[in-house]
């Protein structure tokens, strides 16, 4: 347990003992089952996701059910613990749908205590929210979500309560391995629907993606049968909660990416010799790595704050997400770019895993809003109006 904190207004921003134990278990599992060389080998195959590692993480370690209450078969943990798992999946550029299923789909289903939660908790079903990966969380942007999918009329033989969905979603993350798609659909009213991804009316087309460890998919729904999960304001709130949690946990994942890039680069600069000395002894390189470390220290505080705000239901959560998403996104990209540059020639090869982390950093930085878009939202959130804007 932790000592009382110095500032009563802010939550505990340290890692607890239980979190460190969880981290160690996840890190070991990833090191045993899916080191970066394995991720790299998988990147160009027809099956970029790693179902074996996902099952081990989801079911054996129980990470799929962290956020789900014990009464529904989950672990009843909080976003603080979920964040640590996200950090580790980022650290390993792990191709598993943890963020989509254990964080976002779960967050979308928790308010309505949906029947699917038990199957998500034990890892037997994987779900994904079908939104473009770059969607900004409405709680941050202040703008309502628009969907490219519409609710149509039920077919003549359809059971009562079943709906039909038609439309497209471009560039959804982690939809490829999902058995159930959670589809926000426009209609009267707006609703959130559960759709069987294997239904013949559903097409999930893989996209050749910048990030091979989290490939995107384009989705088409052609009068696809759908079960309503929530409608109206409840649906909007569920989707909003999922996107807010997704953005915050993606930021934590980015922290893990940054950490791994820094560790790899430091190790290489100690070992690589030129001009008769370890290149890590050159001040020009040291200072760049010191800057990466400073960015990482700052980003970690922001990531911890976002996780704590989510866990506590803090009204400051939108600001916390902005801070985490911008700080962690930029730290990850900086660390990954420096990782490639400071490795020199070997860092530019396909063979070396640095590019996996660079691509993961770049796509994660755009995911659920770029750092720039998040900071732009501060104008409204904390009253820093643009030129010509009025004082709020």
């Amino acid at each position: 347990m932790s000592a009382p904190v110095a500032s009563p207004g802010l939550p505990d921003l340290r890692y607890g003992e239980a979190e460190e134990e969880l981290r160690a278990a996840v890190r070991k599992l990833i090191a045993d089952r899916s080191p970066l060389t394995t991720v790299l080998a998988r990147a160009e195959t027809a099956d970029p996701y790693d179902p074996g590692t996902w099952q081990a993480l989801a079911a054996d370690l129980g990470c799929a059910g962290l956020l789900i209450p014990e009464s529904r078969g989950g672990a009843g943990a909080s976003y603080r613990e979920a964040a640590v798992v996200a950090e580790e999946t980022g650290r390993g550029a792990l191709p598993v749908p943890y963020l989509a299923s254990a964080v976002m789909a779960t967050a979308a289903l928790l308010p309505s205590a949906d029947e699917l939660l038990a199957a998500l908790a034990d890892g037997s079903v994987t779900a994904a929210l079908t939104v473009p990966f770059t969607t900004m969380p409405p709680a941050v942007s202040g703008a309502a979500l628009a969907s490219g999918v519409r609710v149509g009329r039920p077919g003549p033989g359809d059971p009562a309560g079943q709906a039909r969905l038609t439309g497209t979603v471009a560039g959804a993350a982690d939809a490829l391995p999902a058995g159930v798609l959670l589809v926000p659909a426009d209609g009267v009213p707006f609703g959130l629907y559960a759709v069987d991804a294997s239904a013949p009316e559903v097409t999930v087309s893989p996209v050749v993606s910048l990030d091979t460890t989290r490939p995107l998919a384009d989705l088409t729904f052609a009068n696809a049968p759908a079960r309503p999960v929530a409608t109206g304001e409840a649906a909007a709130a569920a989707v909003s909660a999922a996107l807010t949690a997704g953005a915050a946990m993606l930021a934590c994942e980015q922290l893990g990416v940054a950490q791994r890039c820094l560790e790899m680069t430091v190790a290489y600069l100690k070992e690589r010799r030129q001009f008769g000395r370890a290149v890590g002894s050159f001040q020009a390189l040291k200072h760049r790595l010191a800057d990466v470390w400073v960015a990482l220290i700052q980003a970690r505080a922001a990531a911890r704050y976002a996780a704590a705000c989510l866990a506590d239901g803090d009204p400051d959560t939108p600001v916390a997400v902005v801070l985490a998403k911008s700080a962690c996104g930029e730290a990850a990209v900086q660390a990954a770019q420096e990782c490639v540059q400071l490795h020199g020639g070997i860092g530019f090869t396909w063979e070396h895993p640095a590019h996996l982390l660079l691509k993961r950093a770049r796509s994660g930085s755009a995911g659920f809003g770029t750092p720039d878009r998040h900071r732009a939202a501060l104008a409204g959130l904390v009253n820093l109006p643009p030129p010509g804007g009025s004082i709020g």
Partner: protein, 403 residues
Amino acid sequence: MLAEPALSERDHELRERVREFLAGHDPAALGRQAFLDARFDAGLAAVHYPEGLGGLGLPRSLQRAVDEEFAAAGAPGNRPERNGIGLGMAAPTILAFAAQEQQARWLRPLWTGEEIWCQLFSEPGAGSDLAGLATRAVRAEDGGDWMVTGQKVWTSSAHRARWGLLLARTDPDLPKHAGLTYFACDMSQPGVDVRPLRQLTGEAEFNEVFLTDATIPDADRIGEVGDGWQVARGTLMNERVAIGSGTAQPREGGMAGLAASAWREQPELRTPGLHDRLLRLWADAEVARLAAERLRQQLASGQPGPEGSAAKIVFARLNQELSAFELELAGAAGLRYDDWTMRRPETVNFYSRGPGYRYLRARGNSIEGGTSEILRNIIAERVLGLPAEPRTDTGLPWKDLPR
């Protein structure tokens, strides 16, 4: 999150203890100095100091309970802002490295503010390369006092100080780091000449100190002869933590608040480029506030990380960029300065006066207490474990180094 029961109990006991103390010690009747002396003797000065030396050997995190109780009673405080070097650097150094009799002599008047401390480290020829310093301390042949001669610089509070933390060279035949010894120098003697050092803001926070056969009894040496560098490193680490973590601030509590207010209050001055900069700086400043809080939490639970150096680098950069933003936003008004008169400010507030002063004062933030460049070296070598640059100056006797 609930606090550990043992800690909350101790918190309660401490508050009770303060109330009992206050019942027996009326500040109005005793007078300020006697009241603070009694508070120190009761172990209620700084609870993390050892018993018998102003504290109770308790975790630092419990100090808040004590401070709150004294403040609630309207009791006079020790005005820490007047003795920043004493409390932030001298006290931790004395606690970690000084002998028992020295601790008993120095800590009470230090904590109460009766005796102000300053730091005699930097020299005109030894800034970032502190270990190359030239001030000589020579011991009388009979094993008596030390005689010190040299010049120190950037000494804040020297004109008010009773004591100076002095790093001096005691053996020029040894390599630079090995020949140093640490002393407490009595600043009230004739061999110590303090002159103001005017800075680019117009006033003089700092001093130059000329030592001419200043006398230091061997009893005022801190640590062994030749161990000065180890002791000084401890002092400097505390300085960086003090500068970088500071006291808890509310959101928009520092320079970011001034910039945000200026932006909100003067819509006619806004431009798109400045808006982008402000959003980025506001976010960076708020993240830095969270990181400073995280550092304080780690210190409170006894897990001090190396984050202090990061905090200091970020603090300096943000103060500089935010004050530059403010000056640029101000436009024509930013070209007027409040006052160039040479003054001796008793306390320094980086956030006071006008944007011009704040901009100029912030330039010093990345120089004082270790330049940002030296801090990057420290991070790279001590945190990340990267190898040191090849050097030619560490193995030779100090007296043979090229100067």
